[in-house]
C-alpha cells in the first residue's frame, strides 16, 4: 500500500508542483532582479523571456513570484497583472481584463474613451491616486500572439509607459518563438528595451538530466517537506485573492502525505539503485537526445508511474520508452485497415514511386488496383462502388487528402496526394495479420 501512496505522491508532485525549478538559476536571478527593481526602486523595465515549449518558462516565473510574495512589502505595493495571448485574443479583451485585475471596474463604469492609450492612462492615473499598489508588473504570456493584434496597440502603449517612466511598470513577455523581436512593429520595437532572456535547455549535460530524473523520483525527508510547507504559510492571504495566476491555487503541499522515515530511506535507496542501472541510463540518453526539455521527461515519468505494477523496474521503463518513441500512430492505424484498403494504399504507393509523387485520382488508382485484382485469387468480385468507399475511408483517416478545391469536379477525378510515407505502408505491412501472400508480393514489386 505504501508503494501506491508513494506513487500518488510523486504523480501529484510532478503535476502540481509548479514552483520548483531545476537549473536556470541565472535566468531566475535576472528576472527576480527586474521585478525587485520595479517594486523597490520604482524603475521601469521591459524584457522578453524566450524558451522552447515545455521548457519550464512558467515554472521559472512562478518560482520567482513565489519567492517574492513571501515579502509583505512586495505584496502591498506591487500589482501583478497576467495577460495571455490565448485568452485575450484582442486588445479590448486584454484591457477589460486589466481593469478587472486592477480592481477599477467601478471607476471606469460609464466613461467612454476615444482611444486605447487614453483608457490606459486613465487606469494608471487611478492607480496613482490610490495609496498603495503603485507599481505594476505586466506578465504577457504568448506575447507573439499579441503581435498579430491591430497596430499592436497594447504592446505599443505598455512599452511606451515603461520607457517614458511615467509609472513604475515592468513588462515581461513570455514566448516560445525565437524570432519574436522581428514580429514587433518598428515603433514598438524602438520602445522595447531589447532585453531578451533565453531559456535554452542544456544539450550537453546528460549527467544533469539524469540527476533531475532522480530527484523527481526521490521522496523528500520530513524536514524538507516542512520547509516547503512553511513557505505557503508565509504567503499573505491577500495574494490568493489578488493574483490571476492560478499557480497558488491547490498547490502541491507535501504535507498531505506522510511516510515513515524507514520507508523514505528504503524508497530512496531503491531509486538510487534503479537510476544507476545501465538500461535506465540508456533510456535517459534516448530521452535526452530527443528533447532536453523538462516537459517530455515529466510526461514520461508520469506514464511510468501510472501503472498497476507494484514496483518500478527498469524493464518497464525501457518498454515505455519504446512505446513512446519507436512506435508510430500511423502504422498502428494502417494495421486496422481492411485488406481492400491496404490494396489501395499499395496501388497508391506504386503510383507515387513510378511517377515521382505525382498526384492521383480514384480512377488512376482503380485501374492500377484492377490490374492486380483481376489476376488475384482473393480480391475478386468487389464492385467499383465498394472500392470507392474504401478510397473515401482512406481520405477520412487522412492518409490521403484532396488537393485544390474544385468542387464542380466529380469525386472520382478529384486529385489527391499521399499524406504518409511509403515507409509507413511497408512497416505496417510487415506487421499486418494474415495478409494474403500474393498481396505481400505485389506490394514489393508492381509487376504482376
Amino acid at each position: 500500500m505504501d508503494f501506491n501512496e508513494a506513487r500518488e505522491f510523486l504523480k501529484k508532485r510532478l503535476l502540481k508542483d509548479k514552483t520548483t525549478l531545476y537549473g536556470f538559476e541565472e535566468e531566475k536571478e535576472q528576472i527576480k532582479n527586474l521585478f525587485v527593481r520595479t517594486a523597490k526602486h520604482s524603475e521601469s523595465n521591459s524584457a522578453i523571456l524566450i524558451g522552447p515549449k515545455k521548457s519550464g518558462k512558467s515554472t521559472l516565473l512562478n518560482s520567482v513570484l513565489f519567492d517574492l510574495v513571501q515579502d509583505n512589502v512586495f505584496v502591498s505595493n506591487t500589482l501583478v497583472i497576467y495577460l495571455n495571448g490565448l485568452i485575450h485574443i484582442d486588445d479590448r479583451l486584454a484591457l477589460k481584463s486589466t481593469t478587472v485585475q486592477m480592481n477599477l471596474e467601478k471607476e471606469v463604469e460609464g466613461k467612454t474613451f476615444s482611444s486605447f492609450s487614453e483608457n490606459l492612462s486613465f487606469l494608471l492615473s487611478c492607480l496613482k491616486a490610490g495609496k498603495d499598489l503603485q507599481r505594476l508588473i505586466f506578465i504577457i504570456d504568448e506575447i507573439d500572439l499579441f503581435c498579430t493584434h491591430h497596430n499592436q496597440t497594447l504592446l505599443y502603449n505598455l512599452f511606451d509607459v515603461a520607457q517614458s517612466a511615467q509609472t513604475p511598470i515592468c513588462v515581461l513577455g513570455i514566448t516560445s518563438r525565437l524570432d519574436v523581436i522581428e514580429l514587433l512593429e518598428k515603433r514598438v520595437k524602438s520602445r522595447f528595451s531589447h532585453r531578451q532572456i533565453f531559456m535554452l535547455p542544456d544539450s550537453e549535460n546528460l549527467q544533469g538530466f539524469a540527476n533531475i530524473f532522480r530527484s523527481l523520483l526521490l521522496l523528500p525527508s520530513t524536514k524538507e517537506s516542512n520547509i516547503i510547507s512553511q513557505k505557503f504559510v508565509n504567503i499573505p492571504q491577500k495574494v490568493y485573492k489578488q493574483y490571476k495566476i492560478p499557480f497558488l491555487r491547490k498547490h502541491f503541499d507535501p504535507k498531505e502525505f506522510s511516510f515513515s522515515k524507514k520507508y523514505i530511506n528504503e524508497w530512496n535507496k531503491m531509486i538510487e539503485q534503479l537510476t544507476s542501472k545501465k538500461k535506465v541510463l540508456n533510456v535517459l540518453e534516448i530521452l535526452y537526445s530527443t528533447n532536453a526539455s523538462l516537459g517530455p521527461l515529466k510526461r514520461f515519468l508520469y506514464e511510468i508511474l501510472s501503472t498497476d505494477e507494484a514496483k518500478i523496474n527498469e524493464n518497464d521503463i525501457s518498454k515505455t520508452v519504446e512505446h513512446l518513441y519507436f512506435e508510430d500512430d500511423k502504422v498502428k492505424l494502417i494495421n486496422g485497415l481492411s485488406v481492400l484498403e491496404i490494396c489501395l494504399l499499395i496501388s497508391i504507393k506504386h503510383h507515387s514511386e513510378i511517377y515521382d509523387n505525382d498526384p492521383f485520382n480514384f480512377e488512376i488508382i482503380l485501374t492500377r488496383y484492377n490490374k492486380f485484382s483481376f489476376k488475384s485469387s482473393t480480391m475478386q468480385s468487389i464492385d467499383r462502388e465498394v472500392v470507392l468507399k474504401a478510397f473515401e475511408n482512406l481520405k477520412y483517416q487522412e492518409f490521403i487528402a484532396a488537393i485544390g478545391h474544385e468542387s464542380k469536379m466529380q469525386k472520382e477525378y478529384q486529385m489527391h496526394k499521399l499524406l504518409i510515407l511509403p515507409d509507413h505502408i511497408e512497416r505496417a505491412l510487415q506487421k499486418y495479420h494474415n495478409l494474403p501472400t500474393e498481396i505481400d508480393h505485389w506490394s514489393k514489386s508492381c509487376i504482376i
Partner: protein, 454 residues
C-alpha cells in the same frame, strides 16, 4: 474483450481516485473499435469521484455552446422550464469560461471528454490550445480527454499522453457476433410462431436443428466474404443480420439439412457476393426481397443480372434513340482531345504519316483524368459523325440536350445563359462503363472512338 479492459485499466491509471490528472490525453483507434465503449466502461467505474462531461465536437457550431455545456454540467445545472432554458451563466468569451471554471470547487476532480476531437481543429485556434492546459489556467484537478480516429500528429500540437485502442481481429469479431446468437434466434422463433403458415410445426422443427454450430458456420462464411472489404463493426453487424435470413431459409423450408454446409454455402454465396457490392450503401434492393420471398434457387441468375448496377441502369434507362447518341457523343467529346477528332471521325483524314510506333511513355489515360469541357458545336459535329442516318438539326433534337442536362448526364461548365451564342461549355458526367453499355444498346462501339484505346 480483453483489449477493451486493458484500455479501461489504462484510463483508470491516468484518472484514478485522488490522483493528479494529466493535463490532457488522447484516445485513438480505428473507427468502431470500441473507443466510446472504453469510455463508457471507465465512467461506470469512476462515477463516484469524477465529474464528467462528454462533448461531441461536431455538434459545436459556435464556441459559446461548448462553454455553456461544460459549465452547466459541472454546476449540475439542467435546462428546464423553471429556469426557462437559460444556461447557468452567460459566457461570451474564453476568459468568462475560465473564470466560471475557476469558481468550481477545487476539491472535486473534473474530466472533459471530447469525442470527434478532430473537429476541434476547425474551431478558433485558441480553443484546442487552452483545453490542452486547463489545469494551468484554472488550478483545478481538471483534464481533457480527446477521442479521435486520427493519428495524433494531424492535430499539430505538442505531444500528450496517448492511449491506443487496438482494432479487432477476425477472432474478436467472431466472438462479438457469437454473443448475438441467442438474440437473433429468439427473434426468428417469434417470427415463425407468428406466421400463419400451415407448416408452422415443421418449420419449428427445422428451426430446432439450427444450433450454435450452425450459426458459427454461417459467421465463418460471412466473414470470409466480407472481412477483406470492410472492418467496420457497425456495418458488418448490419449486414450479418440482413444476410442471415437467406442462409437459414432453405433449412426452414426443408430443402437443405442444417448440417449440410457445402450446399448451404452454394446456396448463399451468390447472395453474399451481391450484398458485398452494396456495402455501406444501405440499399434495400428488390433483389434481396425477392430472395426472401421466392426460395427458388434458380432466381440467383436473375438477381445477379439485376445487381450489376451500372449495366442494369444503362439498360433500363428510357431515352430516345437520338438522345442516346447525343449522350455517347458527349462522352466522346469530353474524353478525346479536339485535335484527334479528325483522325477519329473522318473517313478520309488524309494520309496517315507512317510514324514510328511511338512507345507509350506512360499508361496514363484521358479517361482517368475526368471529363473536359466542350462546346455545343463540337458535340453536334461528333453526333453527326457517329450517327449513320441523316437527321435534321431541329429544335426537337436540341431540346434533347437540355433533357440530358436535367437528368444530370451533362453539366454546364460555363456560359449557362449563352447557349444560343455558342459560348456555353458542357461536360459529360457519365463513366466509361456506362457509356459502353449505352453504346451496346444502340449497337455502337464506344472504345473504338476513344484515343486511349487506339
Amino acid at each position: 474483450m480483453n483489449k477493451i479492459e486493458k484500455v479501461v485499466r489504462k484510463l483508470i491509471n491516468f484518472y484514478g481516485k485522488d490522483e493528479a490528472f494529466p493535463e490532457c490525453s488522447y484516445l485513438y483507434g480505428q473507427k468502431s473499435v470500441g473507443k466510446s465503449l472504453c469510455i463508457e466502461k471507465f465512467l461506470k467505474e469512476a462515477k463516484d469521484y469524477l465529474q464528467t462531461v462528454i462533448i461531441y465536437a461536431d455538434e459545436i457550431y459556435t464556441k459559446n455552446i461548448l462553454f455553456e455545456i461544460i459549465i452547466n454540467k459541472f454546476n449540475e445545472h439542467v435546462l428546464c422550464e423553471e429556469n426557462s432554458y437559460e444556461s447557468y451563466a452567460k459566457i461570451d468569451c474564453m476568459e468568462d469560461f475560465l473564470n466560471e471554471l475557476s469558481a468550481l470547487s477545487s476539491d472535486k476532480s473534473y474530466l472533459i471528454i471530447i469525442e470527434k476531437a478532430e473537429k476541434m481543429r476547425d474551431m478558433d485556434l485558441n480553443i484546442l490550445q487552452i483545453f490542452m492546459k486547463l489545469q494551468e489556467f484554472t488550478g483545478l484537478n481538471i483534464s481533457c480527454l480527446f477521442v479521435s480516429h486520427l493519428a495524433f500528429e494531424k492535430f499539430g500540437v505538442e505531444d500528450m499522453l496517448k492511449i491506443y485502442v487496438p482494432d479487432y481481429n477476425k477472432n474478436d469479431i467472431t466472438e462479438i457476433f457469437m454473443t448475438k446468437y441467442e438474440d437473433i434466434h429468439e427473434r426468428i422463433r417469434v417470427k415463425i410462431e407468428d406466421s400463419n403458415i400451415n407448416d408452422n410445426m415443421t418449420q419449428l422443427e427445422a428451426f430446432e436443428s439450427m444450433n450454435e454450430e450452425f450459426f458459427k458456420n454461417y459467421l465463418n462464411l460471412f466473414l470470409n466474404v466480407f472481412y477483406k472489404a470492410c472492418r467496420d463493426l457497425k456495418e458488418l453487424t448490419f449486414l450479418l443480420e440482413k444476410c442471415y435470413s437467406s442462409y437459414y431459409s432453405p433449412v426452414l423450408s426443408g430443402e437443405i439439412k442444417a448440417n449440410d454446409v457445402t450446399n448451404l454455402w452454394r446456396h448463399v454465396s451468390k447472395h453474399l457476393k451481391t450484398s458485398l457490392n452494396t456495402i455501406y450503401m444501405r440499399v434495400e434492393n428488390d433483389a434481396t426481397n425477392e430472395f426472401k420471398n421466392n426460395e427458388n434457387a434458380e432466381d440467383g441468375f436473375e438477381i445477379e443480372k439485376k445487381q450489376s448496377s451500372i449495366k442494369s441502369f444503362a439498360q433500363t434507362l428510357e431515352l430516345p434513340f437520338y438522345a442516346k447518341y447525343l449522350l455517347i457523343a458527349s462522352f466522346l467529346a469530353s474524353h478525346n482531345d479536339a485535335k484527334s477528332d479528325k483522325k477519329l471521325f473522318m473517313k478520309n483524314h488524309g494520309k496517315e504519316r507512317r510514324r514510328r510506333q511511338q512507345t507509350k511513355l506512360s499508361d496514363k489515360m484521358n479517361v482517368q483524368f475526368g471529363p473536359k469541357s466542350f462546346s455545343i458545336d463540337r458535340l453536334l459535329a461528333i453526333f453527326y459523325a457517329i450517327l449513320d442516318e441523316k437527321v435534321g438539326l431541329t429544335c426537337n433534337l436540341l431540346s434533347q440536350i437540355s433533357t440530358l442536362v436535367d437528368l444530370n448526364f451533362l453539366t454546364y461548365v460555363s456560359g449557362e445563359n449563352n447557349i444560343m451564342e455558342g459560348t456555353a461549355r458542357l461536360q459529360s458526367t457519365i463513366g466509361l462503363d456506362f457509356a459502353i453499355n449505352i453504346g451496346k444498346l444502340v449497337g455502337f462501339n464506344v472504345k473504338q472512338y476513344l484515343v486511349d484505346f487506339h
